[in-house]
Amino acid sequence: MSSRLEADHLYKVFGRRPDEAVDRLRAGADREELRADGTTAAVIDASFTVEPGQIFVVMGLSGSGKSTLLRMLNGLLEPTAGTVRFDGQDLTALGDRELRAVRARKISMVFQHFALFPHRSVLENAAYGLAVQGVPRAERERRAGEALALCGLAGWEKSWPDELSGGMQQRVGLARALATDADLLLMDESFSALDPLIRRDMQDQLLTLQQTLKKTIVFITHDLNEAMRLGDRIAVMRDGRIVQTGTAEDILLRPANDYVASFIQDVDRSRVLTAAAVMDTELRGDEGTCGCETATPDTPFTELCAMSARVPHPVAVLDAGREVVGVVPRQRLVGFLGDETGGPAPCDSPREGKVTAGA
């Protein structure tokens, strides 16, 4: 089983006298003040916890500090202040040698531009992490082969990275990260360089793999749709600070500020929302009594729409114990799609009959 990752008040400041800069940031100075002095605060007071087996997505535009944050998690960058704990171990307290050991065995990474070694074959690339650990050749080739097969690249072992398409190259990158059996997977905009269709494929594949592997994953992206698709929890970063952390629904339904709100305008809600988010919990008591189709709180929005078309009345939502926990009237579905939370206003010339007749 995977382990928990905790980041506690992380700061990363580039430039002169970083510690002093951290003190000023703690005292309330903002990023622009520091920039005037020639220091750059890349990450400011970032704290979060990633539960074992969770995909934690850090979302932000370029320059928001998300990549810097990621690199502090495996010690590629040393935090100016704050701690990173993984598996009960304080990574920030480790020396170089121990940190390398942790990186070799417990944390692996997938890069934006794949970062495959052009002078090694696909198999050798996938086996790289194991080679660093000193695993004997036969075993590491076997394990690398398995990782490649897991990523759908069986039969490509003898190829060279430059013979593969971008998507396949990133599968090699993923296989390289999985081959070491590291518990924590850091993914740095791993799918951003891929074509949209391939990106979808890769997202699906990651989700499928995750169902069996249950790794702890920190995924960096600038694409909120991707964040919502993948993330069990999402942190939105802006100017070095985490401005909101929560589930996709939290972000979508309760944006912490205008910045986040402006982001979610473009998000395809129907892909994110589930029955639990849209259902009406004010019950009359008789909703579950008929033999019609029912939904669960996890039923996706699009499926709910399909159900709603087949059921003549609001769809009942039942929990695991077959208890009715809410209903979804058709009106609410339409309202959520249009980002309208209010109810209908009365019509001065009702045409109820015609409408239902047509439905």
Binding site: V102, R103, M109, F111, A115, F117, P118, H119, G129, V132
Partner: protein, 609 residues
């Protein structure tokens, strides 16, 4: 502006190094010469054509059949030009310089790639080494390491090291940052990042640097030849010194053959040993679909076997060849194999007397090495004991500067020829110009130029300070500083076109026999009395070799003997000096015993022949 005494500081720095670090220089010298001797022994051991075959097989393997055939043709050409041994010694010199340069340059480049501070420190030093005129490097190299291979190698490697460092640094810096980060992210140690990621990926660039190092080294060879390294550089210098265009061209062609071979081989080696390069080459072959014979490249095992077989044959022949050595013993064996080194300046009387003494001393059982130098390095070598003696010191005037500097470290074994004369000379077709007095009114005709030689030469000082003044030539004429070859070339050019020209010249000189020239009379005696040609030895030489010391002190030649020997040597041409001396001695029997008397056969009482 106050005068900054930079030169003085450098001088005193060099002196300090000489007195305090001589052990270090000796160690370096021993190392370099050991490497050179080893490589040269290997290269010179096999029959030339066999080694050419080995090199051709290497070319075949690295680049294909055409390259192999061309390589063989090129080396066969070098052999047929009779330059094989020189080419091999040059090749050894370049290889030693390259190896040492790389041993220094690659780690330095790696260090510079990892540290901005080192990079910033190294860069100006490299600029200095690369752009400093190479002659300037040669002089301290000679001072520190003495004449010969070590100085040549050191000067060459200093000159050639810069691209090695730069390209290594560049190659490593060019490696994709994300790849390095990926290696770090998987816990790779810094050492493994360097060895497994950065260096393999930087290899093509590093190899381009190696290629540059070798090419610069070869281009430095000619200049290193001035330090007495011999080889093709020495050949070129001799050719320049004696204005032998054809011979110079031949030596130049041999250098080109070496350069092209090394260039093509190192660049092919670059693709061959870098995994990326190998793959790119294989892809290109597949893409072009070339399956023709000339594109065929044998598997590595073929050249390995080929080289091994040829090397075994070569080794076998070397073994049989070496047994053919002769050990001549005779009553006249005074030297018993003792080694003597004679240095010479490529002036005719210097060559003639040097080879004469080489022959005489060898007949007396000494093991004699002759090496050609420019005048400055020759005196340095003599003063530091690198050279035992030289026979061509023009004293007291021409070599006055050198005598002033090194005189107290040398022994003068006396004059063997004289007097010489210094003069301004015009072609005989300049009817109206017969004396220095006539020069002033013809200044326009001569363009106001007197073509001089090296500004360091004694006669140039004399010309500028005394002769010009005496005959009122100041203002009317400029003395053009240059070099002896340049002066002779200018004379030859003007003579061919029957143009007016006035040059500084001296007698004896072969130019007087080649051209119809006229020495300008010196009615006021401004040039002074002529020099004598002296034999100079290092301090204490005569005490160590009393017979040789005595012979040299008693030695003298008449003008007839000298010119006769010189013309013999000139006719025999390059490489035939010693044969010419033998032939001449045969025609003049008894001279050896007169010049080098041995007890029982010595004095005037010996039987001739």
């Amino acid at each position: 502006m106050p005068r900054l005494q930079l030169g003085d500081w450098v001088d005193s720095g060099v002196d300090w190094l000489l007195t305090h670090l001589s052990w270090l220089f000796d160690a370096v010298k021993a190392l370099v010469e050991g490497m050179y001797d080893g490589i040269d022994a290997v290269l010179a051991a096999p029959e030339p054509l066999l080694l050419a075959g080995i090199l051709a097989v290497l070319a075949w393997w690295l680049r294909g059949l055409v390259a192999g055939v061309l390589a063989f043709a090129g080396f066969a050409l070098v052999d047929s030009l009779d330059l094989w041994e020189r080419a091999m010694s040059t090749l050894s010199l370049v290889l030693v310089a390259t190896v040492i340069a790389l041993v220094i340059a690659v780690p330095l480049g790696i260090w510079a790639a990892r540290s901005r501070r080192v990079s910033a420190t190294v860069r100006p030093v490299l600029d200095l080494l690369q752009t400093m005129p190479s002659m300037v490097l040669l002089i301290p190299a000679i001072l520190f390491f003495g004449l010969g291979t070590a100085a040549g190698v050191i000067a060459t490697l200093i000159f050639a090291i810069a691209p090695g460092v730069r390209m290594t640094e560049l190659g490593i810096r060019q490696v994709d940052k994300e790849l390095v980060e990926a290696a770090e992210a998987f816990g790779t140690t810094p050492r493994d990042i360097l060895l497994r990621v950065q260096l393999p990926l930087a290899l093509p660039t590093v190899m381009a640097g190696v290629n540059q190092v070798i090419m610069l080294g070869l281009s430095m060879v000619v200049i290193a030849g001035m330090a007495g390294t011999g080889g093709l550089g020495g050949a070129v210098n001799e050719a320049i010194g004696q204005l032998e265009i054809g011979y110079g061209f031949e030596a130049g062609v041999a250098i080109v053959v070496l350069a092209v071979y090394l260039d093509r081989m190192t660049s092919a080696l670059g693709t061959q040993i870098s995994p990326l390069g190998r793959r790119a080459a294989a892809k290109a072959r597949v893409a072009s679909g070339a399956k023709a014979v000339w594109a065929h490249r044998p598997r590595p095992v073929v050249p390995v076997v080929g080289v091994a077989v040829l090397a075994l044959v070569a080794g076998g022949m070397g073994v049989f060849g070496s047994s053919a050595g002769t050990a001549e013993a005779s009553a006249a064996n005074v030297g018993r194999g003792k080694e003597i080194t004679i240095g010479y300046i490529p002036w005719d009387e210097g060559i003639a007397s040097t080879y004469l003494w080489k022959e005489i001393l060898e007949q007396r059982g000494f093991d004699v090495t002759t090496t050609q130098y420019a005048a400055g390095p020759l005196y340095t070598g003599l003063a530091t004991g690198q050279v035992d003696f030289q026979t061509d010191a023009w004293l007291p005037t021409t070599h006055a500067e050198y005598w002033k500097k090194y005189g107290d470290q040398l022994d003068d074994l006396g004059k063997w020829y004289g007097p010489t004369s210094l003069e301004l000379t015009v072609p005989a077709y300049m009817k109206d110009v017969n004396s220095l007095d006539d020069l002033k009114k013809h200044a326009g005709e001569f363009g106001g130029k007197i073509v001089g030689i090296e500004p360091s030469a004694g006669m140039m000082g004399l010309l500028k300070s005394k002769v010009m003044k005496e005959y009122g030539l100041e203002g009317a004429y400029d003395v053009v500083d240059g070099s002896t070859p340049a002066m002779l070339a200018e004379l030859k050019r003007a003579y061919a076109q029957k143009k007016p020209v006035v040059v500084t010249l001296w007698s004896p000189h072969w130019a007087y026999s080649d051209y119809d020239l006229k020495k300008l009379a010196d009615p006021r005696g401004a040039w002074g009395a002529g020099d004598g040609v002296h034999t100079l030895s290092r301090k204490g030489f005569a005490a160590e070799h009393p017979e040789v010391g005595r012979w040299l002190k008693d030695f003298s030649m008449t003008e007839q003997q000298l010119t006769g020997l010189e013309s013999r040597i000139t006719k025999a041409g390059k490489g035939g000096e010693q044969d010419a001396v033998r032939a001449w001695l045969k025609e003049n029997p008894g001279l050896v015993d007169r010049w080098a008397p041995v007890d029982g056969r010595g004095g005037g009482s010996q039987a001739a022949g």
